[in-house]
């Protein structure tokens, strides 16, 4: 049977080109995402901080465990973090006429599990909050819960459900797409809880926020799913050892 083989390098260039294209269009009009500084009242901001704390502890433990017990995985950990950094810096225009950015958390979840992603997302969110006034310190807890906890946790569930039932690229695609989308569903919920509509209540304002955040996010989530699947496929050939260690490959057939 004839099978055309794509070399990993070629694929990498393809991804780079796509990212660059996205970057050039998005940077024409630099914009922001997440819940902005001050846009949650103090009690809610504090509440989401408290929710985030146990996940930070779990995440730190997990990261420390990886770094000390299996130092050879550090590079791959860097890659997962890098993926989140790149994707959350790309603010892409969407069909609703506003811009948003993907989260990049799906790939990390597939590789290292949800709690490691909590830490990686927190690093990206702190960077953006302090240097870019994008998101905020008061809303950091809420943004970590949506991007680094809720999205990755649901993604981990989806991944474990799908991984042996369908092909790798499809599982990764769906996992990353859902992690991305769900992040903004949670963002909308957080805002709706804090700001119920005076007439239609929490449901009313939830519908309002979900239209703004999640609908904008649909095309971006699809893009993110595709990119995550592409990178995952690249990793399968170049990171066989790491994949075996993480239990992503049962036995390597040579």
């Amino acid at each position: 049977m004839f099978r055309f083989r794509v070399r990993p390098v070629q694929l990498f260039y393809l991804i780079l080109a796509i990212l660059l294209l996205g970057a050039s269009t998005a940077w024409a009009a630099p914009q922001r995402m997440h819940i902005m500084e001050g846009f949650l009242p103090l009690p809610w901001a504090a509440f989401w901080w408290v929710v985030a704390i146990p996940f930070w502890i779990l995440g730190f433990r997990r990261v420390r465990q990886i770094v000390t017990a299996r130092p050879e995985l550090r590079l791959l950990l860097g890659l997962a973090g890098g993926f989140i950094f790149v994707l959350s810096a790309l603010k892409l225009p969407s069909v609703t006429g506003s811009s948003s950015h993907p989260t990049g958390t799906g790939l990390g979840t597939v590789l290292f599990g949800p709690f490691v992603v909590t830490i990686l997302s927190t690093i990206a969110l702190i960077f953006q909050a302090l240097l870019l006034a994008h998101g905020g310190i008061s809303t950091l807890g809420a943004n970590v819960v949506s991007m680094g906890v809720a999205g990755p946790l649901l993604a981990a569930g989806i991944w474990h459900l799908l991984r042996y039932r369908t092909s790798a690229w499809l599982s990764v695609f769906l996992t990353a797409m859902i992690a991305d989308l769900f992040t903004y569903v949670v963002t909308a919920t957080q805002l709706a809880l804090a700001f119920p509509d005076p007439l239609s209540g929490i449901v009313g304002s939830w519908l309002k926020f979900i239209t703004i955040f999640a609908v904008t996010q649909v095309p971006l989530a699809i893009s993110e799913g595709i990119l995550a699947a592409l990178v995952f496929n690249l990793l399968r050939t170049s990171a066989e050892v790491e994949f075996q260690e993480l239990g992503l490959i049962r036995s390597v057939v040579r």
Binding site: L21, G82, V86, L191, N233
Partner: protein, 106 residues
């Protein structure tokens, strides 16, 4: 118990091409569909929605510690963020590629 080996089979090349096309279309489409729009951030729209729902709410109870003085600085910092991520990703693949070569030679 034998699990099917399908999860890690190579995806066909057509799939790569198709996905590349889909991504490009998704990036270009907004400019066609919503050509009048300014593509402001969804969080700006979100903040506006907060103001429309709760007009009395004062979001200035806490201010950002530091804000980029201009759009250019902001773009630069976002570019920096993407660059850091890109380096991490590129380093991994470069390292692996070099490692593969060394193993072959020795």
């Amino acid at each position: 118990m034998k699990r099917p080996n399908t999860p890690f089979q190579n995806a066909p090349v057509a799939l790569y091409l198709l996905s590349a096309v889909v991504v490009v279309v998704l990036i270009v489409l907004p400019f066609v569909v919503a050509s009048e729009a300014e593509f402001a951030g969804a969080d700006e729209a979100g903040s506006e929605a907060v103001v429309s729902i709760a007009p009395d709410y004062d979001p200035t109870w806490i201010q950002s510690i530091w804000e980029p003085p201009s759009g250019e600085t902001e773009s630069m910092l976002f570019a920096l963020q993407a660059a850091v991520g890109g380096i991490l990703i590129g380093y991994f693949f470069g390292y692996k590629r070099g490692q593969g070569r060394t193993v072959k030679r020795s």
